[in-house]
């Protein structure tokens, strides 16, 4: 049988200081970059899509390559000065993002915005036909509402998982897991800042998937810790933690490999529309793995040190889990 990283005895926890410095540096770099973006893009530290800011976005496809400058001047001439013109996938596809009209409450007519730009481009760049691939327009109020909704979704999912983990494990595990997940959120936002990816609804969905995935990973390790704690009382928590991480290592490697394979397939082959989503997921696989070992683990140790368990080695939650496990052990096991 093919085995990778079988029966390893790495001391993962030993490197917690180095990893903490590394991840804090990464997040700090992200925050600095956010500040730089805020200055460079007039107060827009994060690159929100029109879904959140309100405004109009039009995607154009040209039959022949055209320089970004030509498109930009045509867009200005069409009366959309202050618009952002970006090209993607060569010089034939452009995205034009214009802010909402001042004082407007309703959404603009996305189609007519596109048609107007196409008309102006036709006059300025003859012989090159532009077609509107998609046009989207969002009223400013909807955008603001959506921002609150997305934030609520993230916070509620945190609260719900914390409650679930507190019930299934004990509060120490729950807190460690949720802080590790919060860490993933921070590193992913730092990553967003570094790549200056556009934050759309799909990206928020990816962010929540990363949260779920990372939590998954932490739970797998903590489940092993829970189990090993029951088996051996003499071992220190640090050793139990290290052993549990080593024991689950083959599973971690294999699962990350399959998820990463699927994510890379999306990143490379699924095209521009879904690319920011794919980037977040790809990054999420790494940060999720890192945080379940180097954030959740040391945190659990620290919490344990700060608020030690009662002397008999098992508090209520642990005791309940223990009896459940014993019951299961006693139950007759039949394959059929």
């Amino acid at each position: 049988m093919l085995r990778i990283l079988h029966d390893t005895k790495y001391d993962f926890i030993k490197y917690w200081k180095a990893s903490a410095i590394g991840t804090i540096a990464f997040i700090a770099l992200g925050i600095v970059l956010l500040g730089v973006h805020a200055v460079r893009y007039h107060g827009e530290a994060l690159n929100y899509s029109v879904e959140f800011t309100g405004g109009t976005v039009v995607r154009l496809h040209f039959t022949q390559p055209v320089e970004a400058e030509a498109v930009r001047s045509a867009v200005d001439a069409a009366g959309f000065s202050g618009s952002e013109v970006t090209n993607f996938g060569g010089l034939t596809d452009y995205m034009i993002k214009s802010p909402p009209a001042e004082g407007a409450v309703a959404a603009q007519n996305a189609d007519s915005v596109g048609a107007h730009i196409v008309q102006t481009l036709k006059e300025r760049v003859p012989g090159n036909t532009a077609t509107v691939q998609s046009a989207q327009s969002v009223g400013p109020r909807v955008g603001a509402e959506l921002k609150t909704k997305a934030l609520t979704a993230i916070l509620i999912s945190f609260a719900v998982t914390l409650i679930y983990l507190a019930i299934r494990f004990e509060w120490r595990f729950g807190v460690a897991a949720v802080i590790a997940t919060g860490h993933d959120l921070l590193t992913t936002i730092a990553f967003l800042a570094m790549m200056r990816l556009e934050i759309s609804l799909a990206v928020v969905a990816a962010l929540l998937t990363v949260i779920g995935y990372s939590l998954n990973d932490t739970i797998i390790i903590f489940d092993r810790v829970r189990e090993n704690l029951k088996k051996q009382r003499k071992e220190s928590l640090r050793d139990v933690l290290n052993r549990s991480i080593n024991e689950t290592l083959p599973r971690s490697v294999l699962t990350h490999a399959t998820v990463l394979a699927a994510t890379l397939a999306l990143l490379i082959f699924a095209g521009e529309v879904i690319r920011p989503f794919s980037w977040i997921m790809a990054f999420g696989v790494f940060t999720g793995t890192f945080s379940s070992i180097y954030v959740a683990g040391p945190l659990l140790l620290w919490i344990e040190h700060k608020w030690p368990r009662s002397t008999d080695g098992a508090d209520k939650g642990q005791a309940r889990a223990l009896t459940e496990e014993r019951k299961r052990e006693r139950a007759p096991a039949g394959v059929r």
């Binding site: 007519s112 998982t161 929540l208 998937t209």
Partner: protein, 564 residues
């Protein structure tokens, strides 16, 4: 559980899934336009494409409270009624896959696959379609009120706007330009310039043309020129939006003769080479409203495009009495505050039938008006809060790329599982095939549309789905390393991996549920995919793959070495 049962459950699930994935005819009972229940058979195609893949249009509508204040409770109630109206209107538009839904308590979302004309669809859902019939004034009331109106306009400082063209363009937010506000800044200034030119020309002309001139003096009266019938006034076409803006001013409205209204017409007239818009002074009280309307059809008549309408019996009685009382008067047909065409003279009492003249409009416009009238008026005006249009080529491109990514992702996952776990990997791949089948069937069961984020979620879930298998296989390996027999190792492996599988999947399920609750549109599609995927993954990894193992154990009795 006996092996026979296990196999029958798997086969039954497969059969159910395949049935769910095949297009079939469903019969639903619906109410037709006349409100009669009827059976309608529709072809139901599972896993239809979402708007971002099929191309089409998406609109999110909210109550327009910019003109009048509406209480939140009244809003929610109005949205419910508006939902019905919008739905009826779009059903008549002829696209069967149109979806009209309520979102939250204060929004209506409309998605129309494959529509090409955004402007038309927008008009169809945005027009309030409030129909009224009113008698035009014959007493010359407006002429008598003109001095007062001039004074009010002067007091309110409204006249200043005429002198500054920039202000004019700001004040003229007529419905026609509303959708383009702020966009056509350059076009607006040129319009302002031409307005100035026309204005100076008008000043010159009005000195010469005594025949058309009504009254010299104030800003209000100089805009108006008497028309050809009582209560009719002509206003320079370029100035008409300005007058409309003035009429919305509360002080100006108060100065209009009591019980009367000055309303613009949809028609313009050309007199001596210049274009004028007609305004009519009408009674505020309608003799009848669109509430009594029973049907409406477009037609091409002698006077161009018309919409013929029929009133209900009660409406007909009322209409007959009212028109009988007003023989010789002119009757204005008013839609959303605009007089449609020239008010006709009432020759004799009219019963249940009538027609609205559409002037030079096309038959398509008449069709839309008839449709909107049949569906009834919106209880409140609506405005577009969000609109999206996706071209068909982008959708096709996304489908192709999504398909490629899915195939490659599946191939890679299968490769990893086979190389690492050999025979057991093969069993897991068998489970994966059923996973894909079950997930797609579950999505069809949810009546979910396939969106691009949905495809991404599905591809991702394939990678995540094997996680449960991996957990179990690693456990089996550990148990075997402890010297247990294959049979016991498999049994223990499944049992010990269970808590981790349950905990991790439930927590992901909770996240997906939160996404579903707070997400909209495409994100919701993603959440549904995720939930269906988790459920299918649990079933296949815990139940199906285990059955495969049992089958294998039963076939190879005696000495067993498991390739894992």
């Amino acid at each position: 559980m006996p092996l026979k049962w296990r196999i029958s459950i798997i086969v039954a699930l497969c059969a159910l899934s395949i049935w769910a994935l095949f297009p079939r005819d469903v019969t639903v009972r619906t109410r037709n336009a006349q409100g009669v229940l009827q059976n309608e058979t529709m072809r139901k195609v599972p896993l239809k494409k979402g708007l971002d893949l099929s191309g089409g249009m998406y609109l999110s509508l909210e109550v327009d409270d910019s003109k009048q204040k509406i209480a939140p409770s009244a809003k929610a109630e109005a949205i419910d009624r508006a939902l019905k109206t919008v739905r009826t209107r779009l059903e008549g538009y002829g696209t069967s896959e149109t979806v009209v839904e309520k979102q939250g308590s204060d929004r209506i979302v409309v998605s129309i696959p494959g529509i090409s004309d955004e402007e038309r669809a927008r008009k169809l859902v945005e027009d309030q379609a409030f129909l009224e019939f009113k008698i035009t004034d014959k007493t010359g009331a407006l002429e008598r009120a003109l001095p007062k109106l001039d004074q009010v306009v002067k007091q309110r400082g409204l006249a200043a706007a005429t002198r500054a063209p920039g202000d004019t363009s700001n004040a003229t937010l007529s419905p026609a330009t509303k959708g383009l506000q702020g966009l056509l800044t350059s076009a607006d200034t040129t319009k302002g310039d031409s307005a100035k030119k026309v204005a100076s020309a008008a000043a010159k002309d009005s000195a010469n043309e005594d025949s058309l001139k009504l009254q010299a003096g104030g800003a209000f009266s100089s805009l108006l020129q008497a028309g050809n019938m009582p209560g009719e006034f002509y206003v320079d076409n370029a100035k008409a939006p300005l007058l409309e803006a003035w009429l919305e001013d509360s002080a100006v409205a108060a100065a209009i003769p009591p019980g009367k209204q000055l309303l613009p017409s949809t028609d313009s007239v050309t007199l001596q080479g210049r274009v004028y818009r007609a305004f009519y002074l009408v009674d505020s009280r309608p003799i009848i409203t669109g509430d009594y309307l029973k049907g409406a059809q477009p037609n091409q008549g002698m006077e161009g495009t018309v919409v013929e309408f029929q009133l209900t019996n009660e409406g007909g009685r009322r209409f007959r009495t009212e028109t009988g009382r007003n023989i010789g008067n002119y009757m204005a047909i008013i839609l959303d505050g605009r007089v449609m065409g020239r008010p006709p003279v009432i020759q004799s009492a009219i019963g249940t039938r009538g027609q609205i003249t559409m002037g030079g409009k096309s038959l398509a416009d008449a069709q839309d008006l008839a449709l909107v009238l049949r569906a009834g008026a919106l209880p409140v005006p609506l405005r577009v809060a969000e609109s999206q249009k996706i071209g068909p080529t982008l959708g096709q491109d996304s489908i192709d790329k999504g398909r490629n990514a899915s195939i490659i992702a599946v191939a890679l996952v299968v490769l990893i599982m086979l190389v690492y776990y050999r025979f057991s990997g093969l069993l897991a791949v068998g489970g994966l095939v059923l996973y894909i089948l079950y997930t797609l069937a579950a999505l069809a069961g949810f009546d979910a549309a396939i969106t691009m984020p949905g495809i991404a979620g599905f591809v991702l879930s394939i990678g995540i789905a094997v996680d449960a298998n991996v957990l179990i296989f690693e456990r089996i390996r550990e148990e075997m390393a402890h010297g247990k027999t294959v049979r016991t190792a498999i049994d223990e492996g499944f049992r010990h991996a269970m808590p981790a599988i349950i905990d991790s999947n439930v927590s992901t399920m909770l996240t997906a549920a939160v996404l579903y609750q707070y997400g909209t549109g495409a994100v919701r599609g993603f959440a549904v995919t995720l939930m269906a995927g988790i459920a299918a993954s649990l079933v296949t990894s815990i139940f199906v793959v285990r059955t495969f193992f049992i089958l294998w154990l039963n076939r190879s009795r005696g000495t067993q070495t498991l390739s894992i």
